[in-house]
């Protein structure tokens, strides 16, 4: 009994020490605890998809003439009006090219965040085109995936009747060309991105026997951001192997200006056409002779389907 009482007394006397010890620990650990919480939460935030994947490698889905790695968001429609004026070296008679112009009107739509389709019509050789672009790999911020990779496949139909030798008929399939492109892009910094685009074009019908039906090119494009809303772009498509008669490598230099809902792309290029079939494989402009076109692309986006989480938001803008 005595031993029991002694034990109780001992434990009871130890009690206040343990509680006061814990209180002391709590005070000195308080700021450490808060920093622990910050550290744990920071780690959580670093693991969400929005923080992991690189965004906005380019300002628009086109660099200048050709496709960039960017996709339309799901449910977003992009109306594109592209215009190329005539050759600058046509001097005063043709108002430095303003008299002759080529236009392209197209609509691009994002089906999902990784798949987009588009269709358009160009006035150059009455070209109808359609494409789909799929995002395969996405660049990550932590370096695990150093590049973004997409596939672009397009079909072009030139409705302009080509010259058919006597006795031969010009079939519908002769007007078609198929384009397959891989887009490999990397955002090096907030202001600089570079893209490599190997491309393969198949023309169902070419003008001469000695011309290849299959064209290969390795395109290089990039953009440099000068300010929050203005960037400089460049594109060059050197042809590899046999090329169509009299064609040259397509090149362009441009400026992107971004406003509220529009992106204006102003550019100088030696390519007369606007879609890949004519720009990459059929450009005849000689830069050394001043065969340069001034042109612009206007892109205006409309949200058709609102993203799921945002159904109860009430954004109202002009």
């Amino acid at each position: 009994m005595k031993k029991l009482l002694a034990a109780c007394a001992f434990t009871l006397s130890v009690l206040p020490c343990t509680t006061s010890l814990q209180a002391q620990d709590r005070d000195s650990l308080q700021s450490r605890d808060e920093n622990d919480m910050m550290a744990i939460l920071n780690k959580e935030s670093d693991n969400i998809p929005a923080a992991i994947y690189t965004a906005a490698t380019f300002k628009s889905t086109r660099i200048a003439n050709g496709h960039s790695i960017e996709q339309m968001g799901a449910g977003v429609l992009d109306m594109r009006i592209n215009h190329r004026f005539g050759l600058l070296n046509q001097a005063f008679k043709n108002f430095f090219g303003l008299d002759n112009a080529v236009s392209h009107l197209g609509f691009d739509y994002g089906i999902t965040d990784r798949l987009m389709i588009g269709a358009g019509r160009s006035t150059y050789l009455k070209d109808y085109d359609g494409f789909l672009k799929v995002k395969i790999l996405r660049q990550t911020e932590d370096g695990r995936m150093p590049v973004s990779l997409s596939y672009m496949g397009a079909l072009s139909i030139q409705a302009q009747d080509a010259y058919a030798p006597a006795g031969k008929s010009y079939m519908f399939k002769d007007k078609m060309a198929y384009i397959h492109q891989a887009l490999i892009a990397r955002k090096f910094s907030a202001s600089f991105s570079l893209q490599l685009m190997p491309v393969y074009i198949h023309y169902n019908l070419v003008a001469f026997n000695n011309e290849p039906n299959d064209i290969f090119a390795l395109g290089l494009g990039g953009r440099l951001k000068l300010s929050k809303r203005i960037s400089v772009t460049g594109e060059y498509y050197p042809l590899i192997g046999k090329r169509l008669t009299g064609t040259r490598n397509a090149a362009s230099v441009g400026v992107d200006i971004e406003t509220g809902g529009h992106v204006f792309q102003l550019l100088f290029t030696n390519a007369t056409g606007i879609n890949e079939r004519t720009v990459i494989g059929q450009t005849t402009g000689r830069i050394d002779r001043g065969d340069i076109h001034f042109g612009f692309n206007i892109s205006r986006v409309f949200t058709i389907v609102r993203p799921k989480d945002t159904r109860d938001l009430h954004n109202k803008i002009w």
């Binding site: 031993k3 029991l4 034990a7 109780c8 434990t11 009871l12 130890v14 009690l15 343990t18 509680t19 814990q22 709590r26 308080q30 605890d33 808060e34 919480m37 910050m38 744990i40 939460l41 920071n42 959580e44 935030s45 969400i48 929005a50 923080a51 965004a55 906005a56 339309m72 968001g73 977003v76 907030a190 929050k228 809303r229 509220g260 809902g261 986006v301 949200t303 609102r306 993203p307 989480d309 945002t310 159904r311 109860d312 938001l313 009430h314 954004n315 109202k316 803008i317 002009w318």
Partner: protein, 184 residues
């Protein structure tokens, strides 16, 4: 002897006070709204990380800027690239103390109004703020609800004069996050 040990153990058990209770969420919700005559801009973020230490009276929220969702993708892109510059400042955070935390009984359902004082960091700039909040204990979870205003100008968020009339000087922010008990 056995009795002695049992009693000693019982007494020791009572002496171990309840360890600090921590509550956390990875899917907290923060919403903001800018209202002007010309334009309404609203966005919601469902990936906010938040934690509450009831014993120490501390609250921490980390808001990843890229997780704010707008119903227009282009608006979201501009928000990130031109206004909040989320490539440089990827998170906003609040670290604060709730002085009257002791009046909240975490083991029973109830609603309490508290005042939090702490530091708000947005766009790389930290300011001391006082934020009122409502803590609701229900069914074993802690809901933190708070409504307050933020001035973009206070945090170095540049708004070009061309669109100045479209963005409110005071942005209304609403926090509505349900926190669950954190495993130690």
């Amino acid at each position: 002897m056995k009795k002695l040990i049992i009693i000693a153990l019982l007494l020791l058990a009572f002496s171990i006070s309840a360890s600090a209770q921590r509550w956390m969420t990875r899917t907290g919700k923060v919403r903001f709204s800018s209202s002007t005559a010309i334009e309404n801009i609203e966005a919601v973020n469902n990936e906010v990380a938040g934690a509450l230490n009831s014993a120490a009276g501390e609250v921490v929220f980390i808001v990843p800027i890229k997780s704010f969702k707008f119903d227009k993708a282009l608006m979201q892109e501009h928000f990130n690239e031109s206004y909040l510059e989320s490539d440089k400042y990827s998170k906003a955070s609040y670290q604060g103390k709730i002085a009257d935390m002791s009046k909240v009984n975490f083991s029973k359902d109830g609603t309490y109004s508290v005042l939090s004082k702490g530091q708000m960091t947005i766009h790389g700039i930290t300011k001391n703020v006082n934020i009122p909040a409502t803590i609701v204990i229900k069914g074993g979870t802690v809901t933190v609800h708070s409504e307050f205003n933020i001035k973009p100008a206070d945090y170095g968020i540049k708004i070009p004069s061309i669109v100045a009339s479209k963005i409110a000087a005071d942005i209304a922010v609403t926090v509505d996050s349900i926190l669950k008990e954190m495993d130690q």
